[in-house]
């Protein structure tokens, strides 16, 4: 293989082409608006001239001799019959005209001040950055542009006006672009430095165009329609207009046409050139297609999200990627992803043939592209690529030797990057190891749903296969799921057991006693085969089963969700049960301690085992919810009814007092506010109380178990289902609008009672009355709108933040600096700690102290 030559771009400088540069760099002068001759061959001197590049297969570029896709395209130029103002520089021309003398062309600043200002600007630029310098320039220029007489030649100055978009007037007389250009030519280089222009490579008269660059055809390719007709690009259309008008203007000038006609054509040329650069100029009607569709010209191409810069330059696309629906698989490891076999046979990994893997890679080639695991291509040492087919297989096998690269199918253990949009944080794209499975969906461990924010209601995810050794190494070392367990946002874990895994372990450690045989069976199913820790007795306790998974030297003291003590001594769970606060994400303290002591890989493995155990337990024990879970005894039911009734009556009493004028206002509030507040308070109290009653009385059901251990649902959910839904609130207050003086037409006007203002006293199980349902719908819609309005807002905030801070990095000296090495922080976060290496943002002093202080005892 030939040694790769890496060119590195050091810097990019920006400047403006001089007319000479335009003509010098051009390969063709465009003189005719025609595009093709009768045979459909590009016309010489036309806009599709072959010297400007090729867009047709088979043709060769007349400039560089290369074919389609090889030739980058070359610029051409046209000579304008009359100068034209460049729309994008109108602002600068205006400033220059106003700040320079109409007769001598000097800047309207007295000689003695010019030098002083230049040095001042330079120091400002050095000390405060170019933005400050720019502001200073603006200040200076506006100070002098209204001067009455020139300090250099004492000529009286006329007032220059700009009539948007591009017409200049001096007093009442219009300045033609020729005159404007003449004025600009008179300015002196030394004067112009004050404007901040780079005078080494710039003259102001260049921004009044006398020649214009024609972009290469590769930049404006035409497309051939099915009918064989050619459809030209918008830019070509626009350029055609420019060339046509320009030619006509030439002809008219040469023929000595009346000034009016020439002026008109000149204006038209100005219009076309303006819209060529920017078709969205405020004061101009945009140029359109015959159908009325607005042309997309240069500025439109660059701007906005779909523009060249954000869409094509900053947004990259890749090969070797896949996308499909995701589905859960609790049996798969945390850092694995299940991939459909069909995908594994299309996506490939390049592997180089060496002395040691020759036989191994031969097998892939032997299998060909149709049989898994096979290979699709080989790359010869000279860089040529060959497809492996039934015909070529034997030939390839014969020549296959060291130095060849085989693009083989994916096999278990290959690395892949897995991603779900919106990619809001770095855990949205993690590295997984591939496991090729039957089926058509990606399979992933439910525990990694949280960092991706994924669920399985039809979500799709993307997968990328890194193709180089460096990329694979980085993916494996930096992006593997287990390296991302601790969130850099708050220093706690983002993965943990969820749903069934929590419920299962909770039940296991809380109440289950299983036979030893069953325990062994369950443990074996989650990958344990050392049962020496399991006590040798007929029946084993659930805690003992769970303890088998823990490392032998692990000690832990903590609390479970209900506040009871959880104690693990030497890897044996002594007291307490495992629930969300020990196994779950974020709060998962036990897992967090394991992570600190045994490292990421061990934790990921343990998490997988615990999850599988939980699910195995549920599969054996059985776990299901039904509507019966929400049943209450008749006494409880009545008790709840009473509570609500009492609260309602209390509210009615308050309302009564209010109307009678007996209600006393709380300090700092009006009577109305007081009433609202007290009603809300009393109703909420009733809701909470009935919720508590319900929680106490509900039969020990599956729904309750889930709420207790934190797997899914909470007390409020259960209360809403069994007891009372409660007050519906809009913007922190009761529902109070809708109709005149009432919320719904069902109620009387000025009815302030709980039920008329959105209190739902039924529960979801008993069902809602129509008006209650309406209130529920109102808050529901409000929440929906809130989310819909919030998403773009927060998205924009995120974009701004990431754009502003993306180049901040920690230097080797520990300081945080931006790309121009300006110090932002002397020590990151004031103590130099990486949040993802800390426990909720701090070094865990307590653990160390406890550990060492406790050692000797």
């Amino acid at each position: 293989m030939t040694p790769q030559v890496h060119k590195k771009i050091e810097s990019i400088s920006f400047a403006i082409f001089s007319p000479k540069q335009v003509t010098d760099s051009a390969t063709a002068k465009v003189v005719t608006p025609e595009l093709y001759d009768r045979e459909g061959y590009p016309v010489d001197g036309g806009l599709m001239d072959l010297r400007l590049g090729v867009i047709d297969p088979g043709l060769r570029c007349k400039t560089c001799g290369q074919k389609l896709k090889e030739c980058p395209g070359h610029f051409g130029y046209i000579e304008l019959a009359r100068p034209v103002i460049h729309i994008k520089f109108v602002r600068q021309i205006y400033d220059l005209l106003r700040a320079s003398c109409r007769s001598c062309g000097r800047i309207l600043i007295p000689e003695e001040n010019i030098k002083r200002y230049v040095t001042m600007l330079n120091t400002v630029g050095e000390e405060e950055g170019f933005e400050a310098r720019r502001r200073k320039i603006k200040e200076l220029v506006s100070k002098y542009k209204a001067k009455e007489t020139c300090p250099h030649c004492n000529t009286r100055q006329e007032k220059i006006k700009l009539e948007k978009p591009y017409n200049f007037y001096e007093g009442e007389i219009r300045l033609s672009p020729i005159e404007v250009r003449a004025r600009l030519e008179k300015t002196l280089n030394e004067d112009l430095e004050i404007f901040g222009f780079n005078m080494k490579e710039f003259r102001p008269e260049w921004i009044v165009l006398t020649v214009m660059q024609i972009p290469p055809v590769t930049m404006r390719p035409s497309i051939t329609l099915e009918s064989g007709e050619r459809s030209e690009d918008d830019l070509t259309h626009k350029l055609g207009d420019i060339v046509r008008i320009n030619q006509r203007l030439f002809e008219n000038i040469n023929a000595g046409a009346p000034e009016v006609i020439i002026e008109d054509l000149w204006d038209l040329l100005q219009y076309h050139i303006t819209t060529f650069f920017d078709n969205e100029v405020a004061q101009l009607p945009p140029a359109r297609h015959r159908g009325g569709q607005v042309l997309k010209t240069l500025a439109t191409r660059l701007n906005s999200k779909e523009g060249r810069i954000r869409h094509n330059l900053a947004g990259k696309r890749t090969d070797f990627s896949a996308r499909t629906v995701i589905s859960p698989d609790p049996q798969i490891e945390l850092n694995e992803v299940g991939m459909p076999k069909d995908m594994g046979m299309v996506l490939t990994v390049p592997e180089r043939v060496t002395e040691w893997n020759k036989e191994y890679l031969r097998k892939f080639v032997e299998n060909g592209s149709k049989k898994y695991p096979g290979a699709n291509y080989i790359i010869k040492p000279d860089g040529k690529r060959k497809t492996i087919t039934l015909e070529t297989r034997d030939e390839i096998l014969a020549e296959l030797s060291e130095g060849y690269i085989v693009e083989r199918h994916l096999i278990d253990g290959d690395v892949a990057l897995f991603n779900r949009q919106p990619s809001l944080h770095r855990m949205s794209m993690m590295c997984h190891k591939i496991k090729v499975l039957p089926g058509r969906t990606f399979r992933l461990n439910p525990a990694v749903c949280n960092p991706y924010n994924a669920d399985f209601d039809g979500d799709e995810m993307n997968l990328h296969i890194p193709q180089t050794e460096e990329a694979r190494a980085e993916a494996k070392i930096l992006m593997l799921v287990e390296t991302q367990i601790i969130s850099p946002r708050y220093g706690l874990s983002v993965v943990g057991c969820i749903h069934d895994a929590i419920t299962g372990n909770y039940l296991l450690t809380k109440e289950l006693v299983v036979s030893r045989v069953e325990a062994v069976d369950m443990l074996f199913s989650c990958g344990v085969n050392d049962f020496s820790v399991l006590p040798d007795k007929e029946k084993v306790d659930g805690r003992e089963v769970f303890s088998v998974l823990l490392p032998r030297d692990f000690n832990f003291m903590g609390k479970d969700k209900s506040g009871a003590e959880v104690r693990i001594v030497n890897g044996i769970l002594k007291t307490g049960s495992m629930d969300k606060s020990n196994l779950g994400q974020e709060s998962g303290l036990m897992l967090r301690n394991v992570y600190e002591k045994y490292g990421a890989a061990y934790t990921a493995d343990l998490l997988g085992k615990i999850s599988k155990l939980g699910i195995a337990v549920l599969a054996r024990r059985g776990f299901s919810i039904g509507i019966g879970d929400m049943d209450l005894s008749i006494d409880t039911h009545n008790e709840i009814k009473d509570t609500i009734k009492k609260a309602e009556q209390e509210s009615l009493q308050l309302i009564d007092d209010y109307f009678k004028g007996n209600l006393e206002a709380l300090p700092g509030r009006t009577v109305e506010e007081t009433l609202e507040l007290r009603i809300l308070e009393s109703l909420n109290r009733a809701r909470n109380k009935s919720g508590d009653i319900a929680m106490k009385q509900v039969r020990d059901s599956a729904a309750l178990t889930m709420a207790r251990c934190g797997a899914r649902g909470n007390a409020l959910n259960i209360a809403q289902m069994t007891a009372v839904v409660g007050q519906q609130a809009l913007r922190g207050r009761r529902i109070d609008s809708g109709f005149k003086g009432r919320t719904l037409s069902y109620f009387k006007q000025n009815d302030l009672s709980p039920k008329a203002r959105g209190f739902i006293k039924n529960n979801f199980k008993s069902g809602l009355t129509p008006y209650e349902f309406f209130f529920g719908a109102m808050t529901g819609r409000d929440a929906l709108m809130d989310t819909a309005l919030r998403t773009p807002k927060s998205g924009y905030l995120y974009r701004r933040l990431s754009n502003a801070m993306q180049d901040l990095k920690v230097e080797y000296d520990g300081t945080v600096r931006d790309s121009s090495s300006k110090i932002v922080q002397f020590s990151y976060g004031e103590d130099g700690l990486d949040v993802s290496k800390t426990k909720n943002g701090v070094v865990d002093v307590k653990r160390i102290v406890q550990q060492i202080a406790g050692e000797a005892k």
């Binding site: 990019i12 009006t670 801070m805 901040l808 920690v810 990151y828 103590d831 102290v849």
Partner: protein, 380 residues
């Protein structure tokens, strides 16, 4: 704690951060031996060192992600009522945006005024609150009567309110006598009478006067629209709607070390850039806490630092922080690309490709993380 222990812990001051040292002092049991303590310290230093950021870590992006990602979970349109319904505070996402934009006019400016201990009793607080509240003449007026023939305007003031504010008509007149050139002022009890000096026939002037008089400040501090004394952990704090930090801080009763407002820009002007930075951190953190989100303070610090890095408060907008970037392409890739390209061309700017987007654009490794170090090898 024994003195030698304390000394031992202090000796690690150059290796550990202050917050860690403080925590050690609290957690270490008093009866610990010196050997064990030094062992603990060594362990902590090791833990601290291992938790340090790696060089090249793109902390900026991590912070942006950490704040941007939970942004979707924040609520919109939430107002937190701090008592009176007129006195609510913007919270949630709109407030975060307001702070990061460094808006000069914020939606709900408020202050928290802490008082010196000797003024910390209910009476003094109430009196003080009444003193600083901006009172406009219009609020006191019960009745306006225009006498066209005599060219007079007579204001009848509310007696009860006058008493509450401890004012008389005469005192009020003193306040704005100098401003009224064309009128003679006179006061009796609770009335104020304006008489036109000249013999202008126009009633219009009187009408104008009536409108103008309404907005005349007669008492309090400009901008303090509402005051609400609340008790907070044994002392009284005065919450206000409307701010005027400069004048409030000058008052004797005010504990000027703890009193603050939520207007970042005002804090910057009165107390300077370091205070503004801290104010940004505090305000953002407060919102995040109220939303029940968990974001490490370091991320907010970094945003605050980049906003204040130049000595003035800059918003995270195309006019603020982003416009300061050295790279043309980085600025162009944010917003208004054409403007940036045009200016760059005129000034002959050079993009040295030192940050992220430019290198993404030209397909080169970005100088962050693993892209930062170069490798130099001798080729045979």
């Amino acid at each position: 704690m024994k003195k030698e222990h304390e000394e031992l812990i202090e000796s690690y001051a150059d290796k550990l951060s202050l917050s860690v040292l403080d925590e050690v002092k609290i957690t270490v049991p008093a009866d610990i031996t010196k050997e064990k303590l030094s062992k603990i310290m060594e362990e902590i230093v090791a833990a601290y060192e291992s938790a340090k950021v790696n060089p090249g870590e793109c902390v900026g992006l991590v912070s942006a992600e950490s704040i941007g990602e939970p942004g979707t979970q924040m609520t919109l349109n939430t107002f937190h009522f701090a008592g009176v319904s007129e006195m609510n505070v913007t919270t949630g996402l709109p407030r975060i945006i307001e702070i990061f934009d460094a808006q000069k006019e914020i939606k709900t400016p408020t202050m928290e005024i802490y008082l010196e201990s000797k003024y910390n009793n209910l009476d003094a607080v109430k009196k003080f609150a009444a003193k600083i509240k901006e009172t406009l003449l219009g609020e006191l007026v019960e009745e306006y009567s225009l006498n066209i023939f005599e060219q007079t305007l007579k204001l009848t003031l509310n007696k009860g309110l006058l008493k509450d504010y401890d004012l008389t008509g005469k005192e009020i007149i003193k306040n704005f006598k100098t401003k009224m050139k064309n009128f003679n002022l006179d006061s009796e009890d609770n009335t104020i009478i304006f008489t036109h000096k000249g013999k202008a026939e126009e009633i219009k002037e009187l009408y104008n006067l009536k409108e103008k008089v309404k907005d005349v400040k007669i008492k309090g501090i400009k901008g303090i629209k509402q005051v609400l004394p609340v008790k907070r952990g044994g002392e009284y704090v005065i919450l206000t709607s409307g701010t005027n930090l400069k004048e409030v801080l000058e008052l004797d009763e005010v504990d000027s070390q703890r009193t603050f407002c939520n207007d970042i820009y005002e804090i910057y002007e009165v107390l300077g850039i370091e205070a503004a930075r801290q104010a940004i951190i505090n305000e953002v953190y407060k919102v995040i806490q109220a939303q029940g989100l968990n974001i490490d303070i370091r991320h907010i610090m970094l945003v605050a630092d980049i906003m204040c890095a130049n000595g003035i408060v800059k918003g995270v907008t195309r006019y603020g922080v982003v416009s300061e970037k050295a790279s043309v392409l980085a600025r162009a890739s944010f917003e208004t690309p054409i403007k940036h390209l045009i200016n760059a061309a005129l000034e002959g700017e050079v993009d040295n490709l030192t940050s992220v987007v430019e290198n993404v654009m030209i397909n080169q490794p970005v100088p962050l993380g693993t892209g930062l170090p170069g490798l130099v090898t001798k080729m045979k």
